[in-house]
């Protein structure tokens, strides 16, 4: 008769201690040693950094650049920049799980956020590591880690959003230079960035995915004009960038000519994989703060907390966040095992997390009630922060691939449903 006993015996025979062999959520001793070291350093470093640097306002781009890069430099000096980057570029060469510990500890003490180093550290850097020439890597990676180079992204165009591959920004070869004409949009921090990761069309005759190249763009090159765009929450978060005969050396191309689409896809897998670990920790904290707020805010004779419907939704969101955090750990474990960037699981995470984040925003506005019509802190309520987050959350189901596009990806690539009948010219 069939039995499940062999599965127990087999393991016993293998001689591997039971608790090490199985699915495990516990950080390793090495991870915990790293945590202690980092925690000890942060305890001293964060207050010291905050004492010597004023937090700039959202509109002060130069100030934010200065602040964000200074913190990155501080991390680098202490050996905490690029936890999972190879040591040869100044990284720590540690495991993905240590990277996770890093995020946890940074969030725990409320250390400065990655800020303007976002594109360099999380998009361009990993792409260069995977696809660039040795010279390109040596030129840029250490400077990104040290906070000496700020990057921005030039992928989307006004006419090429969800259909990114239809981009038209053209790079015509002229000797050992490309001459770039066209425009890009959603380039965060374009005004103060040093470099941009730029997708251009190098072969207008080829099928749309086949004629694209990936360039390193020096943002100080003549012919670049920047028009700031105001985001829903009111601050300037991104720009439209216009290119008028902008000359980019051919040696700044990453990978082969016309192979840029494949390279960009590498970036997206990073973007979808771990990009919101920090945000997730922030949201987890926000859920706790919302509960505390709900217990304080009175509405008529009771508190918002006394409204079971609101309270239960806080519980639901917290429960789902716990689940998503476990899902991150699974994704990280898979990445660690396979030594590959996180895969399609990132789309699942993005769909679930962005929707959860928006539900949290709606709930926050409900708890705030009438006070939420103001965006400056009054009556002891952190309205500035909460309303800004609530408005900002509306971008989450759009930026970096709309939820509609993510559902297509999940359905077609993970579930194997037939591809959309899309016109691919």
């Amino acid at each position: 008769m069939a039995t499940l006993k062999p599965y127990r015996r087999q393991r016993a025979r293998g001689g591997v201690p039971f608790h090490e062999a199985r699915m495990d959520l516990r950080y390793s001793e090495a991870d915990e040693r790293f945590r202690s070291e980092l925690r000890a350093w942060l305890e001293d470093a964060v207050p010291r950094f905050e004492d010597s640097h004023d937090v700039p306002s959202a509109d002060d781009l130069a100030g934010r650049r200065e602040y964000d890069t200074a913190w990155q430099g501080t991390l680098f000096e202490a050996g905490f920049a690029g936890i999972d980057w190879p040591a040869e570029y100044g990284g720590r060469g540690a495991s993905p799980t240590e990277q996770l510990v890093f995020h946890e500890e940074m969030a725990r003490v409320g250390a400065p956020y990655v800020g303007m180093n976002f594109v360099g550290l999380l998009h361009a850097g990993p792409t260069l590591m995977s696809e660039a020439s040795t010279e390109q890597k040596e030129r840029h990676l250490p400077r990104i880690l040290r906070g000496e180079e700020v990057w921005c992204q030039g992928f989307s165009e006004p006419g090429a959003g969800s259909d990114l591959a239809s981009l038209r920004c053209a790079a015509a070869r002229d000797g050992d230079e490309y001459v770039v004409n066209g425009s890009k949009i959603w380039t965060s921090y374009g005004e103060v960035a040093d470099y941009g990761e730029l997708l251009v069309r190098t072969d207008p005759e080829a099928p749309k995915h086949k004629g694209i190249s990936w360039l390193i763009l020096d943002m100080r090159t003549p012919g670049i004009e920047i028009r700031p765009l105001r985001a829903i929450q009111g601050s300037i978060e991104f720009n439209e960038v216009f290119f008028d005969d902008v000359r980019v050396p051919v040696r700044n191309r990453v990978g082969a000519e016309n192979d840029g689409w494949r390279i960009a896809m590498v970036t997206f897998s990073f973007e979808r994989g771990t990009a919101f670990v920090s945000e997730m920790i922030a949201v987890s904290r926000a859920t706790k703060e919302l509960a505390a707020l709900a217990r304080k805010v009175t509405r008529n004779s009771a508190t918002a907390w006394d409204d079971v419907a609101l309270r239960r939704e806080i519980g639901r969101l917290a429960a789902e966040l716990d689940a998503l955090w476990a899902l991150v750990k699974r994704n990280v474990s898979e990445a660690a095992r396979s030594n590959q960037p996180p895969g399609l699981g990132g789309s699942v995470l993005k769909l679930a997390f962005t929707e959860l984040n928006q539900r949290l925003s709606e709930l926050t506005m409900q708890v705030l009630g009438r006070a939420g019509i103001a965006r400056s802190d009054i009556g002891g309520l952190p309205l500035d922060d909460l309303t800004e987050k609530a408005l900002r959350s509306l971008s989450l189901t759009i930026a970096a691939g709309t939820s509609q596009i993510q559902r297509n990806i999940v359905a077609e690539r993970m579930l194997g449903l037939p591809r959309e009948q899309r016109t691919e010219s």
Binding site: D163, S166, I232, A371, I373, A374, L391, I398, S403, T423
Partner: protein
């Protein structure tokens, strides 16, 4: 029974829509936003000239003499055009606050029930000649000069500046609990009408963008994902419209049924429509949707402000539940 607009009602609404299209087009909204002014004297005068404030005041007293059901049609258009300023409070005040009917007095208001337990916030504080104050016991009128408020640096809706009231004098008593109840009920009905207009405008914006914007070689509105978002927007609008118009008609003929419940149903449906549709409009617009390049954000923000004006949808749903369940304890 003939629950469709008659020709005159349709013309009334269409005439006011034409007025708003001309005077409160999106460039004007952007200009007012840039100038930081929510009440422009010329535009306010034009609203007064149209009769918006005295819409329900008898002709003999300088008003237009329309019914609530017709005023609802006008407020639907005010919502659709996100006309800024304390239009609703001044309209509510017309008839008993001198100068309101012809707009020469700009009247704001505070429903202390909305602020219960939180800071007392006043919309358009700098533009007001006087302020109506409602609470469970009655209605008071406070002179704008006598009330102290600190400006709130950033309001949620750029076109609804906010002041934090630091001193609220007692003012003059205008009426008791019954009058407060009546004003709240009327206010809630017109807020629902404005939310309906906002939900409609969001639908129109999303649908026209979905027809124009191409991706993957086709208009995005040909993709089912976008198409179905738009269809759901229209469903919410039509449901809300039925509830809002029914509330208006019930005001004019209270023997039709439970007026409070009709207003609550309008609040529940119109709030849901405005909230979901302004959000869906942003989603359909993609990246553009969360910038100031397209007006979607103004609509979302106005809808959020209106959600807590004269009571929330949750409060309305709770009351309807008690009515359905015959629960008189709350």
């Amino acid at each position: 029974m003939d629950f469709v607009l008659n020709d005159e009602q349709a013309e009334l609404q269409s005439a006011f829509r034409t007025f708003c299209d001309g005077r409160f087009d999106i460039d004007t909204i952007r200009r007012l936003d840039a100038e930081g002014s929510s009440v422009d004297p010329d535009l306010w005068g034009e609203l007064a000239g149209m009769g918006v404030f005295g819409l329900r005041v008898a002709e003999s007293e300088g008003g237009v003499g329309l019914s609530v059901a017709e005023a609802v049609l006008v407020f639907e258009e005010i919502g659709r055009a996100i006309v800024p300023g304390p239009v609703l409070w001044t309209h509510l005040a017309a008839g008993f606050v001198p100068g309101a009917v012809d707009g020469s007095a700009v009247v704001g208001g505070i429903d202390l029930g909305d602020c219960a337990g939180g800071p007392i916030l006043l919309e358009h504080p700098d533009a007001l000649d006087c302020v109506l104050v409602l609470d469970d016991t009655g209605v008071r009128l406070v002179d704008g000069e006598d009330l102290d408020s600190a400006p709130v640096a950033v309001p949620l809706d750029p076109l609804t500046p906010i002041g934090l009231v630091t001193h609220l004098p007692a003012g003059d008593e205008l009426g008791g609990a019954e009058m407060a109840r009546r004003l709240r009920r009327e206010g809630a009905a017109f807020v629902a009408a404005m939310q309906l207009g906002i939900a409609e405008s969001a639908t129109d914006q999303a649908v026209s963008y979905a027809k124009e914007r191409e991706q993957f070689g086709r208009p995005i509105g040909s993709f089912q994902a976008v198409k179905h978002i738009c269809a759901d927007m229209l469903v919410r609008v039509e449901v809300a419209r039925a509830a809002v118009y029914a509330a208006g008609v019930t005001f004019d003929d209270p023997t039709l049924g439970n007026l409070e419940r009709a207003v609550d149903a309008a609040t529940v449906c119109a709030t849901a429509a405005a909230h979901a549709n302004t959000k869906a409009n942003i989603q359909v617009h993609g990246g553009m949707g969360y910038t100031w390049e397209v007006p979607a954000h103004y609509y979302l923000k106005r809808a959020w402000v209106l959600e807590t004006t004269f009571g929330t949808a949750d409060q309305a749903a709770d009351r309807v539940a008690c009515d359905v369940g015959g629960d008189t304890s709350t």
